[in-house]
Amino acid sequence: MALSTISSDGITDATIATGDIANDAVTNTKIADSLVQGIAAVWIKQDFNAPATDDSLNVSGTTDNALGDFTVTINTDMGNANYAITGMASRLANNLNYHVVMTHETTAPAAGLYRLRCSDVAGNDKDGQHVSTAVHGDLA
């Protein structure tokens, strides 16, 4: 079908034969078979204090290494360690020390895991009550 035949009303149903879009075209099947860039490859909401995982996606387990120190192990590995982690932590109830979460200084992220450190603003390790992290990047 030549492009010049498209009217200002758009393409009417059944204008394009299946054969015309079989190759090199965007189809629902192809869209369904590719993972969308931009969606979180991993996410998890943890309570370090319980400790417990409230909910998650693409996580196989968590390891409580020490106070305010947890490792998240990824179920479907990332393509490499060059992914972006975003995170947020809350303070404990009735505690005025605000908590921050960061990647742990002793362990670099790997394709299959990342280690978190949660501390108060003075740098003391703390078990945050609502610790959320998400990973964006390429999956293996």
Binding site: L57, N58, S60, A66, D77
Partner: protein
């Protein structure tokens, strides 16, 4: 937990991430009481691994998780000095998924997947156990002295 009424689609050759999305939409989270306690550094406190509830649901359901060998191959590649990016992700997605496991089998699988090999391979090869599996209620309930937790010396290593 009884999820056998939900039939797992044939997921071989399906990206594992997509399987996990399916599982999240169709399976109920399973909170295991098992905890894996291990020590990989004598100067550090004991570490406690907990199975993820969504992951455990997948393990019990079957037909979703890749075989352990696929993870091992990827770990080997990642250790190579010239590693830039995984090129064998297809091993995760194209291998025959593992069948439904019992909770105990799933814990063993998780240990081999996520615990350091130096721990689980030799957990009972020294005087003191490097790793034990326990129930959640066997752990201290107060985390005040969390950084002093160690596996009890008195625990008997039955293989020695």
């Amino acid at each position: 937990m009884n999820q056998e009424q939900i039939k797992t689609p044939n997921f071989q050759n399906t990206h594992v991430y997509k399987r996990l999305v399916w599982a999240k939409e169709n399976l109920k989270k399973y909170y295991s009481d098992y905890r894996i306690v291990y020590e990989d550094n004598v100067d550090e406190c004991a570490k406690i691994m907990t199975p993820d509830p969504n992951w455990m649901a997948c393990a019990l359901q079957g037909g979703i998780l890749p075989p352990l060998e696929a993870y091992s191959k990827l770990k080997e590649d990642e250790k190579k000095p010239n590693f830039e990016r995984h090129s064998k992700g297809y091993l995760l997605h194209n291998s025959t998924p593992v069948k439904a496991m019992t909770e105990e089998q799933a814990v063993e699988y998780l240990i081999k997947k996520d615990c350091p090999k130096s721990v689980w391979k030799n957990y009972n090869k020294s005087n003191k156990l490097k790793m034990i599996i326990c129930k959640k209620n066997q752990l201290p309930s107060n985390r005040k002295w969390r950084n002093t937790w160690k596996i009890k010396e008195e625990l008997v290593n039955e293989d020695n």
